[in-house]
Structure formats: structure tokens, C-alpha cells
Symmetry: C2
Subunit: 198 residues, 2 copies
């Protein structure tokens, strides 16, 4: 039996274990333990399954989940960039593109191409699937910060306007979800979790 | 706007965060840090995406991934049971069924029903999707133990016959994967990672 292709896939499976060591700034719900990228990707994927019905547009759920499962794999090489970082842009950087080519490039060529294309589609944020997947990515930390009495908002002195600006991308994926999220953000000011001005 | 259904979904999203605290016996690759159920479920889901082509039968990949993302959620209430535990059966227990009803029951009724049915299908292990998903669940710790010089095999004095017996379920999902796995198990004996007899 020929294991050549399978061995490439196993090499990839082994490599992506490193995602479990990449710490995010955001903490787990009701906790001070940072979430790692593997836990985060798992949570977003399951969120997509239960929230898919709220998407503005019809979506290919399998593609959305593929996006969410792989969206942070590039951080093995390029590291996690904090959403509210004022120096480094959170968007697709050259380092991330090089990382995607190296890591997905461990796979057989056809699979590498497919996953790189899906990752690029997520980063571009233009298709219905990418918009919904990105809504998940913004919605989870909002819930986490609320459960942690402000969490990274307080820790990094992030103000209301900045949160609304960064989170409003949720609206592109789901009007209902954004309406709910906006209610939570407003409530966070009333409850002293989020400052109106810096 | 009516957030009633969405609030139920958010309650579920909040509850399943606990999966990130459930530790498995198996350690991460090349590590002595135990893997948790969320990391494990993420890894299996991504494995299913890259290995789907090796399934014995055609599979609905979205359903396989749903199975893998939710398969350990019941352990929030019932705890992780070690594959080689000689006292407690690893199979579907009454406690797990009660847990599934409580946790998935947080969701709107139609979604709760769907996810309970998918979880039961995984546990029964009879459909092509369940067989392939279960193959993923057995294959990952095999790779981890090999990367950890025997890992839980050494730690819990598990012998070759027992490993072959437990892992041979991989064959039901994929002949190719089992053939590869069997080669690794045999090699583990030669390399002193796994004992032939107790």
C-alpha cells in the first residue's frame, strides 16, 4: 500500500498541534485563563452550526466551518495579533501569506491549494461565507469580555467607539446578531464594563 | 427584534466553554501537557477534512465534522472516560445520555433534537459518517503516543494486543488508515514504545 499522500497529511496533522500553544488576549468565559487558538477555533465552528440560521445570506456551512477551523493556523508562524493593536494591522499581512504557504504546503498539492484559497477567502471577507465566519470571530470575544466584567476592554483601555467600530463587522454576516451584539455593548457601558471615552 | 431563540443559543455557547477545562489522559504532541476536549475536537475536525478522501464509503463531511465538534460535549457533566479504563465502559452510558439532553436541551427544540440525534449516531458507530468520525477519534491519540515515546501506553501499562483491539475500529472507517496505523503500532513495539505482553 502507498502511504506517500497519507504521510504528508499526517505531517500536517502533527504540525498544526502547535495551534494549541498560541495564546489569545481574550480569556475563557468567567475565567482569567487565556484562550488558545485551537479552543477558539473549535468554539467558533460550533457557534457557526447553531447560529447559521441568522446569516443574512444563504451560506455553505461546511465552507464556513473549514474557514473557522483553519483561520488561525497561520499564527503558528506569524503569531496572534490583538484586535485592538494600534501598531500592527490585524489584516492579512505578508508574514501570514508566507505562513499559509508553508503550513498548508505540507499537504498534497490539491489540498494545499484548496485550504489556502479558503483561508484567503476568509481574510478577504467578501463572500457570504467569509462574512458569516468573521461575524463569529468578532462575536465570541464580546461574549467573553462580558462574562469577565469587561475583560480585554478594561485591561487595554478600549473605549465604546472602538468596540462598536471593530464589532460592527458582525452586521455584514448577520443583522440579527449585530442588533443583539450592539445591545450588549450598550449595556456594557451602563454596567461599567466599558468606558464611553478614554 | 425578538432575541428569544438567539438567547437560548448564546446560553448554549456559554455553557460549552466548559469543554475547554476537560482534560484527557493523552498529552499534546511532543509534550507532557494534557490535551483538553476542545483542542481534541478541533484537531479531529481538521483531520477529518484532510483525511476524508480515505474513507471506505462516501461520507457527508459536514455531518462528520458536526459529530466531532460535539462528541465530547456530554463530558461537561459525565467526565472523560479513558479508552483503556478496565472498570468503567467507554461506551454510551446513561449519564452521558442525561448530559446530552441537558446540554443540547439549552438550544431551541429543533436544534437540540438534531444535535442529540447526531451525537447518538456517533455513539452507535453504525453509519459511514460515525465510522469515519470514530476512526479520527482513535487515530489522533495513536499519533500523540508515538510522538511522546509511548505516552499513555507506557504510563498505564497498556500492551500491544489491547492497543490493536481498541484501534482496529479505525478499519471500519478507512482500510488505508488502519493499514497505516497498524504499521505504526507494530513499529512502536520494535522501538520499545509499546510492550508485546504485560
Amino acid at each position: 500500500m502507498n502511504f506517500e499522500q497519507l504521510q504528508q497529511q499526517v505531517d500536517f496533522i502533527h504540525e498544526i498541534d502547535k495551534v494549541k500553544y498560541i495564546q489569545r488576549r481574550t480569556k475563557l468565559f468567567n475565567s482569567d485563563r487565556p484562550e488558545n487558538d485551537a479552543e477558539h477555533s473549535w468554539h467558533l465552528s460550533l457557534m457557526a452550526i447553531v447560529l447559521a440560521g441568522h446569516s443574512n445570506e444563504p451560506i455553505d456551512l461546511l465552507k464556513v466551518i473549514k474557514m473557522l477551523l483553519i483561520h488561525d493556523v497561520v499564527e503558528i508562524d506569524s503569531g496572534d495579533i490583538f484586535l485592538y493593536d494600534n501598531v500592527v494591522s490585524h489584516s492579512n499581512t505578508e508574514a501570514e501569506t508566507i505562513a499559509a504557504r508553508r503550513i498548508f504546503g505540507l499537504l498534497p498539492a490539491d489540498q494545499a491549494e484548496e485550504l489556502i484559497a479558503i483561508w484567503e477567502e476568509f481574510e478577504a471577507g467578501e463572500t457570504a461565507e467569509a462574512k458569516f465566519a468573521r461575524a463569529m470571530d468578532r462575536f465570541e470575544p464580546l461574549l467573553q469580555n462580558r462574562s469577565n466584567n469587561g475583560g480585554t476592554w478594561k485591561e487595554f483601555n478600549v473605549t465604546y467607539d472602538k468596540v462598536v467600530q471593530k464589532k460592527s463587522i458582525i452586521k455584514e454576516g448577520s443583522d440579527l446578531l449585530w442588533s443583539y451584539a450592539k445591545t450588549l455593548i450598550d449595556k456594557s457601558v451602563d454596567e461599567g464594563m466599558l468606558k464611553k471615552n478614554s
